[in-house]
Amino acid sequence: MSIDEARQQLSAYLDGELPAAERRAVDDALAASAELRAELDALRHTADLVHTMPRITAPAGFADRVAAAIAADGAAADAPAQAPAPAESTTPRGWLRTLRPVLVAAAACLVLGVAALLVTRGQAPRSAATAPPHDEASAAAERPETDKAAVREAEKLDAVGKLEAEEREEAPERAALKKAVPSRPAVAPAPARKPRTAMPRTQAMVRPAEGMAPAAPAKTKAQAGAVADAFDTERLTKAKDGARRRMAKAVGAGAHRAANHVVALEQSVQSQRDADLGADGDGLVASILRDGPSARAKSLAPRPTAPAPGGREARTQASRASGAFAGARQPRGRAGKEDAARAYRFGAAGGSERRVELSYANLRECLAVVQAALRDANVAFAIQPLGSGRFVVEAALPEAEAATLIVRLAQGAATRGDTLAKGGERQAPKVRTEPSRAKAPVRLVHLAVHFGPVRPASGRTPAAPDNQ
């Protein structure tokens, strides 16, 4: 081997990557050439210098953000589906089964939060000094044009900047919320339930609360980082083992959005009072419906994502990869805002819709029943404040389970409410249903259960429940 040939082999020689014969040849060349030995030393020294560079460690909370990104990406629904055989955890439910207790806990926290805040608001004396500093719902009622302009302005921001701005706005709200919801650890995870079988149901379970946008994959870092702050790590630590807790933070987004809903509900009630819109809150309801689910929900709503390149199969794969949020895109065209919001919340998968109206006399009891029913039903749900103590619980679930849930809600909240309203005389609950509007082959029922206080002046005899 010539000196020049040996020179080309010096790096591999240094790394011990030469076959024995070539190594011996380089050894001979090195013995014969001082210049070659100097080059080898220089290369070795160069490699040593690179070795001296300090290792950079991942930033704190990186694993949590990865978990949140995975959850938001929806990869959970896709990856295990490709896994080979064995029993339990080979289905997409394996991941969800891991997260289910946390999902249920987050849902229960939401209901408890609603209860705590509404009851607190309902009993506390009205005081202008106690109005929250960033009462968006109130602002919407009092200065709709200003608010709309603000929303339009916010929509011009890029997603990251928007989220950061909202995080800053929400900081005092989250602090207030933490104070107002002291009972989180008391919420026990739901007992293990029978395995789910319908894929749409699986997707619904990991879908975030209504009106709140899922994190688009390209934006998940900022979003996941933001929601991680809102997730109560310490309380989860007490309830879960360490490994599960890690991945459980993936649903921090759900908890955070649930917190937003509680704040929104509180704001709605306060707004209705401040604006003095009357006992039924029609003005506020109208404003909410006119402006969409809420200014916050609107500002967080996802932008339609571009179709994945690579043909139909690739798009299908991409759609599956984005998992729970694959169908959660803003519809266009003739759909009204309310329909659009509903379509967004439940995806574009079609299915029937069912609307049920229930009355209550005691909000605390009503929420307790709602909490229990939703926990037992173990479904993804969303609560939207409608003002004047009215709110709607929406959920997407199979037909048979929807009927069960309606019965639970009707037999609980409405019966108790009407009984109290009638001075202790037990009567059938007042339930009014609207005919379902089938749009496509039924896979899920989009259930909207509206709750409102019993109106003593109405004088109507409650009707028997109609569960369709």
Partner: protein, 192 residues
């Protein structure tokens, strides 16, 4: 080449069966090494964080396709290298992005190399030396930088590097040699 970490295979098998917690442990095991390597390749902490997160998400999505023919970490790093190459490609004309960003003094994003030192004078010395090496690596072209990172920082053998880059070992050998010569040239006042 990094040791095949004890227990990786078991965790991978669990993750392939849908055990999210097992994948979480894999993330914890490899996040620092992966983040370090990506940081050195792109020389932007924020970009590195985004890319590392993207790599883990992709890994989770495709974990069922991992057949165990290489170490999990090698497979993970393959995804990382592809992500970095794609990222650099998107950067387009900013081929020497890292060097430019360092020259522009974006201290908030540049990598802090002094955080491992304990004494002030040692820290200063390390900082200066680290800066020099860092800039030298940053000024390599993309292909050379990847080679230096994979071999001299991460310690992969030629076979693993060839697998990651999809090229034969002979190509790895020649590319790495050119990269080291280029690096030596930039650091000649320290090396000679």
């Amino acid at each position: 080449m990094p040791e095949r970490l004890e227990g990786d295979d078991r965790l991978v098998a669990q993750a392939q069966r849908g055990d999210a917690a097992a994948f979480g442990r894999l993330v914890e095991r490899h996040q620092d090494a992966l983040f370090n390597g990506i940081c050195r390749m792109v020389n932007q902490r924020q970009d590195a964080e985004d890319l590392a997160q993207e790599v883990f998400v992709k890994a989770f999505r495709n974990i069922a396709r991992f057949e165990g023919r290489s170490a999990f970490y090698t497979w993970l790093y393959s995804i990382a290298v592809n992500a970095v190459i794609s990222h650099r490609r998107k950067a387009g004309t900013r081929r020497r992005l890292a060097a430019v960003s360092l020259d522009a003094g974006t201290d908030d994003q540049a990598i802090d190399v002094a955080d491992c030192s304990t004494l002030p004078d040692v820290a200063a010395e390390h900082h200066e030396l680290g800066d020099r090496i860092e800039q030298a690596i940053a000024r390599l072209d993309d292909e050379q930088r990847v080679m230096v990172v994979l071999r001299d920082i991460e310690g992969f053998d030629y076979e693993a590097i060839g697998t990651m880059l999809g090229c034969p070992q002979g190509t790895v050998k020649s590319r790495l040699h050119r990269a080291r010569l280029a690096l030596r040239e930039q650091l000649k006042d320290l090396v000679v």
